[in-house]
Subunit: 217 residues, 2 copies
């Protein structure tokens, strides 16, 4: 049964795609156009009641929330492809810790920054410079903590690439977009910069960029 | 080795306490006073660089992020006490899905509501009625989705109590505080109300309220 992934043009579904590629799991992309409101149709809301991306359908099993989907496939195919969860319970604990940092501390400001910088102009909504400024300040503080962490270990959860790192890829990539222009947040920090070059040059991420490109802004 | 849990007077660490009680794991509480800034001391920041609660220390293993800590103990002691992760990979997937909904959709507005309603006045910061109003509106929409879900299954992830339900306890409890007064968000919805009565009457939650009370407001 091929896994169906909805909305792979956008940020959060790209987490799932990169994870499936790392695990060597076949999947099929189902396009969703946010700008046409295709995530708010009654049919889509039956799959995902919040109207958020992504959703996966795997036979008769439906799952949403990108990080929950990644955990499911990383566990189900633990011994296939890249191990993304760590080898011990303690390593898994640290993967979960940094994955939660990404979800609850990192994602909200980077999401606000991207929405304000890229999506608002495309949708004819006025930008709020205060939100952009505050989001950047929050991200700078978080990257300072990452810099300290990545001075001690190659990846966030330890010396192994994991879901914690992978989960940062799709939105961090937006920092380099012309309309966002915040790559200095990465480049001003030696260890963060090396970490970014490492994780963003993985074949799984290159596959995402080539086969599931971002919408044009 | 007894597990040390920092800051059990506050919301997020109460998730960890309730989880440890459900699992029958002994622990020791280490008080932290947020109002005295004890979460921003150099010693505390060595344990938790963001200055957030909770942190646990378990021998020489340190872990932060309440939901990561719960996952660690729920997995480590899978066969002891209440199983909080589901029996199959698919059940675990749904636990993770609703736990991520709690973390990324439910927690931000309820946190803002609680901080504005209770913490701001206590700290002499002016309340922002717009934030209170917007947070309540966001929560109402989420509870509408929960209501639909809980009409179909007794708990969020299915017909079993899990981390997904447990994770809602500490901040939902605040809705009933005099200074917040938003219990109607629960009581206006039949299935949400029954779910709340069920999960908040568990011995683990009663233990939390009795032995690790909230700060007084």
């Amino acid at each position: 049964m091929t896994v169906k992934v909805y909305g792979t043009a956008y940020g959060s579904p790209k987490r799932v795609v990169a994870c499936l590629v790392e695990k060597g799991i076949e999947f099929e992309a189902v396009p969703i156009d946010l700008f046409k409101g295709e995530h708010k149709t009654p049919d889509f809301l039956k799959k995902q009641p919040f109207g958020f991306l992504p959703v996966v359908e795997d036979g008769d099993f439906t799952l949403f929330e990108s990080r929950a989907i990644m955990r499911y496939y990383a566990e189900k195919y633990k011994n296939q492809g890249t191990d993304l969860l760590g080898k011990t319970l303690e390593e898994r604990g640290l993967v979960e810790q940094w994955l939660d940092v990404e979800a609850t501390s990192y994602h909200p400001p980077i999401y606000d920054l991207v929405v304000q910088s890229l999506f608002a102009p495309k949708m004819g909504i006025p930008q709020d410079p205060k939100v952009i400024q505050e989001s950047e300040a929050k991200l700078a503080k978080i990257f300072d903590i990452y810099e300290e962490r990545l001075a001690k270990s190659k990846y966030l959860a330890g010396d192994f690439f994991s879901l914690a790192d992978l989960s940062h890829l799709p939105f961090t990539h937006y920092l380099f977009f012309k309309g966002v222009g915040k790559e200095h947040l990465i480049r001003d920090r030696k260890h963060v910069s090396a970490w970014w070059d490492d994780i963003s040059s993985r074949p799984s991420w290159k596959f995402v960029l080539e086969h599931h490109p971002y919408p044009s802004f």
